[in-house]
Amino acid sequence: MTTVAALDSALDSFPKLLVRNATKFGNRPAYREKEFGIWQSWTWAEAREEVEALALGFLDLGMKQGDHVAIAGRNRPYFYWAMLAAQYVGAVPVPVYQDAVAEEMAYVLDHCSAKYAVVEDQEQVDKILDVQDDLPNLKQVLYVDRRGMRKYDHTTLHAYDSVQEAGRVKRDEFQPELDRRYAAATPDDTCVMLYTSGTTGRPKGVVMSSYNMLKTAKNSAEFDKLSERDSILAYLPMAWVGDFIFSMAQACWTGFTVNCPESAETMQHDLREIGPTYFFAPPRFFEGLLTSVMIRMEDAGKIKRRMFHKYLEHAKRVGPDLLDGKPVSFGDKLKYQIGKYLVYGPLLNTLGLSKMRVGYTAGEAIGPEIFEFYRSLGINLKQLYGQTEACVYITQQPDGEVRADTVGVPSPDVEVRISDNGEVFYRSPGVFQSYYKNPESTADTKDSEGWVATGDAGFFEKDSGHLRIIDRAKDVGKMADGSMFAPKYVENKLKFFPNILEAVVFGAGRDECTAFINIDLTAVGNWAERNNIAYASYQELAGHPQVLDTIQKHLEEVNASVAQDEMLFGCQVHRFLVLHKELDADDGELTRTRKVRRKIIEEKFDVLLTGLYDGSDSVFVETEVTYEDGRKGSISATLAIRNAAVQARKILEAA
């Protein structure tokens, strides 16, 4: 069993931490939200009042210990309070993806048999009312935004603030009960249930105890010296474990400020206004940002552009060393300072990253040059490796030991071992309790000793002791000739090219590898504009011969680099095609966290797949697509199939 110290009993539940913060950091900002043109702010003391009012309101609605409370909305203080309030009364918050279509949401609400739901607005309410009949357990629904709700039947509907009001009014009546439940909380109580959008099959409900979350929060906070003076921007889906760790667990543990953007569209702008000191974003965010930076600079004047790139070059050269405290010549230091004044400083500032003290990226591999770009500007951007079942943290990079191709060393109190078939296992205080109503897959993932299988294949570097992830363990397959097949590894290399948004490589049990490619509309579209290549649609652009040429070049580069590695030699891509549509979560081709669903894609596009292997040079396909509003339509296209040059073995032997 793990030999990890228990938590201080005064701080072993979220409500207790809230109370601690309200007394210790009473006047420090706890939550901010950009609304009505300014940043509405709540101190920890005010936040406590709001939460308790809501908790009392919950009691008034008859919420029981252990009840499940579904939470569906974009990141807003009200929902964080709702989770805290639920924990206050001993209920279990279950955040769900608010952009999920009605059926998906229905599945989750039904599976956890939620009695209550706290949602954002009319849109969400309608979504729930649509599927109400399949949800016999659902008793009460709370909504935050009153707009358009006047005409609804309010027997089971309540406005968020009116529930709070009721709670305040009946304080005397319910306060004792609330105190009782507050005291009754133990570290082993479930503090949240998170549904993983598993890469395959139905989502699973991961049950987390207060101990899991808080111990992890404690360790990670100490690891990066987070304090109440830090602030973060909460913009990632609330249903994702990351947001819960950062915006709930770490926030409550350290007492730092959680800032909620006005809307998804204004995120960039709000990021700039807030300038968080602690920031997490998936690689695609940093990729997108870099692309937009370069595109915006295209329109700059000649001199300015030259200066910009000149200093970026310099930063690339000495920036990372400066960051890791390695020795740098005085001249370079000086030049870097000038660059900092002319370029890096203002650039980071306009992007809103200049105050960032610790930054993390994770979820998938990040392009080395992208990673280096940000670090060279002086941002302490690091990688971590984790998953929902571990409360995120498995391994992470300590300051000064940051590299693009590893995911760092095991986090505090985390044990990691590699099985003989190369799969990564871990055991930690963050390890989840179980999958809700799903003992068998719990058993599959977590053994009696508490070791959890990540399902990823990887290995520790001998010299540095850092973990390197190759691919999903089950995706690491064998090709017909028995050589190793690691699609993810190749796909990532491909995705490092700005022109390539997604790539899916096939080849398990076959003689050679082939690939589907998704172009990045922003990058390629911009390129097309500058070379005045006209195109009417995504489809047309994707099919444009010149685009295909570029993609082919990229593939051949990758083939070359893959060929370097004896083990992965077979993974060179021989034939490829560029998809006529973007892979999309709404069509089930990606997970909500935008991971590729290999199987589903394989089935959906088997026409194309056969085309890739029967040697034909073009193939016709018709696909069903789902629009934002849920309507379905279908698009058809004839896609060209190209061959990409591959390295021959003998060259390698000769070398």
Binding site: G37, G275, F308, P346, T350
Partner: protein
């Protein structure tokens, strides 16, 4: 480039509505004040005070005044010279009638008198619009000048027909008359300029200002959403005239010391102030300062170069002044109707977005 705005955010409307929402600007503003009040007084000498600083400060007031009327309320006036004259003569009469009256009060009263006169001549603005009104204000200009010329009572029947300011003391320092120290009168004017600029800013960002701008942008719509056009226009005339009156008062009492209405407050003055507003930027208080600075400094520079350096006759320099100013007016109207203020704004935006072009 200089701006560092990440982490600058507003948590209240009061903060959001500040004059200088960006810390960097605020710092610059306070620095300017410190220099103006704390440094310049110790460096200033007669030449600087009389050639540049005093005219700048005084005309800045006049420019703000006209800008309120023209830039914010959209009523063009060519009567500034006349109204300055009112301020000047009111000061003269008050100074001579009540020798013990504090100079500050005298000047403010002079402003009020001018405001009253301004309202009188503003009355037609309800009926006549655009440059019909502009032309009408010329009536004020000529009538007033004639008035102060013809009615001896205004210049106390002095033989020369001139008015000259007797010595007055504020807080123990002489602010008018021959022995007034440059540093003193500089500070004296500076206080008025800063205070009035601050007031102007408050008015223009408040409801009053929005009424003016509404009238300026579309008077009919303004009336239909509840602006009383007469009150809005007259208030603009009153405030504007008050400023111009104060400017006239200072110009006469503190700067010139003695004046003859014809050449001190003739139509040329009206144009001078109007040009300050156009070049500086319609509808911008900063622009009023910029415009005043430009119109004061430019001739001095031109003179120094042509007369001082090249040794040309002064009249040639004067002719060039006309040519260049005239050309500039046209150029600004064509290229940047919002004047120096707009150029400044654009430059600032560029700096804020640096290194990005937009």
């Amino acid at each position: 480039m200089l701006y560092r705005e990440a982490g600058v955010f507003k948590t209240s409307y009061a903060k959001d509505q500040e004059t200088f929402p960006i810390p960097f600007d605020k710092a610059g503003y306070f620095l300017a004040l410190i220099v103006a009040f704390g440094v310049i007084p110790f460096l200033v000498n007669d030449y600087w005070a009389n050639a540049i600083l005093l005219p700048f400060l005084i005309y800045a007031i006049a420019a703000i005044g006209l800008n309120i009327l023209t830039g914010y309320c959209g009523q063009v006036s060519l009567g500034s010279g006349g109204f300055m004259a009112v301020g000047a003569y009111a000061t003269y009469k008050l100074m001579t009638a009540f020798p013990d009256l504090n100079m500050i009060i005298v000047i403010l009263l002079a402003g009020l008198v001018t405001a009253f006169v301004g309202v009188l001549f503003g009355l037609p603005s309800l009926r006549i619009k655009g440059f019909y009104l502009a032309v009408a204000t010329l009536a004020a200009q000529f009538f007033l000048v004639w008035l102060f010329n013809k009615i001896p009572w205004f210049y106390n029947y002095s033989a020369s027909g001139q008015i000259s300011a007797p010595e007055r003391v504020v807080l123990g320092f002489e602010v008018t008359g021959a022995n007034a120290q440059p540093a003193v009168i500089y500070l004296f004017c500076l206080c008025f300029t800063v205070a009035l600029a601050w007031v102007a800013r408050n008015l223009t960002r408040s409801n009053t200002g929005r009424k003016w701008m509404a009238i300026r942008d579309m008077d009919i719509a303004a009336e239909i959403i509840g602006v009383n056009p007469l009150m809005a226009k007259l208030s603009a005339f009153a405030v504007s005239s008050f400023y111009i009156g104060v400017a006239g008062a200072l110009l006469f009492s503190v700067y010139l010391g003695a004046a003859e209405v014809g050449e001190a407050f003739g139509i040329q003055k009206s144009f001078l102030v109007l040009f300050m507003v156009i070049i500086g930027g319609l509808g911008s208080i900063f622009g009023s300062f910029a415009g005043a600075a430009f119109m004061v400094l430019f001739p001095v520079l031109l003179k120094n170069v042509m007369v001082g350096q090249l040794g040309w006759a002064t009249d040639i320099a004067a002719h060039f002044e006309f040519i260049i100013v005239g050309a500039l007016i046209i150029i600004f109207l064509i290229v940047e109707p919002h004047g120096l203020a707009a150029l400044w704004r654009i430059a600032k935006e560029k700096l804020r977005l640096w290194p990005f072009p937009h």
